[in-house]
Symmetry: C2
Amino acid sequence: MPLRSYDQNCSIARTLQVVGERWTLLVLREVFTGQRRFEEIQRNLGVATNILSDRLQTLVDEGVLERRPLPERADRFEYRPTEKGLDLNPVLLELMRWGDRWDAPAAGPPVLVQHRDCGHDTHAVQTCAHCGEPLSARNVRVRPGPGARAAAA
Amino acid sequence: MPLRSYDQNCSIARTLQVVGERWTLLVLREVFTGQRRFEEIQRNLGVATNILSDRLQTLVDEGVLERRPLPERADRFEYRPTEKGLDLNPVLLELMRWGDRWDAPAAGPPVLVQHRDCGHDTHAVQTCAHCGEPLSARNVRVRPGPGARAAAA
């Protein structure tokens, strides 16, 4: 439990236990964009090999990535996102959207996101699962849910 | 630049320079849910005061939070999110949604999100800014954008 102090009854804190360590979200960015071998990820990020090993192991242990032998060399591996891992894509897209909006280079975004189904460049818009209208900080509120009582256990 | 090695030409990395330090996103969670005084945030998180001071100062320096004197005691302060800060709400909602889906207590989510406009409990659905259809890891792709060349500068 590297982030023991995050061990709260909160789904944000629980998620950060898995992906909140330094480098982890950038490791996922690499895997999502097709860099799936240790050496590729290490070279692109410039992260120390022991740290990268640790982050990849955590992601495998948590079921976010799968380690698979390469077809051509069974003693080498690649890392692929699981369904649980792919479901972190919205986190990456929102981090990217915020960076693009508030801190992009003058020339524009470093990376463009294309929605393959409609073919257009896009960014994420968060909508309500019930009515489909946009969500914002101003039109949502939170309250204790059914799992809240676990905090008192 | 505490995360110097994140200093890449990537909007995810840029965002993590602002919010990627341990505790920062939980500090924002507190402020977004109405805990705006140092003592409240510190008590809820159980974070060391020097770390909390550092995180709050970074968020003020980055324009994510504003420090305002309390009306009743001008020598005490509260922290309020700016527009730039409120625009991090989607990141928090996606972290929460993932934790709810993959690691919630058996009883259910610790916290429920209500969309005030329609009145229903909800979670975030990421949609395409162009066509409004859902985005997923499988139907988006990324490519270098206009700001990509800055990396070579």
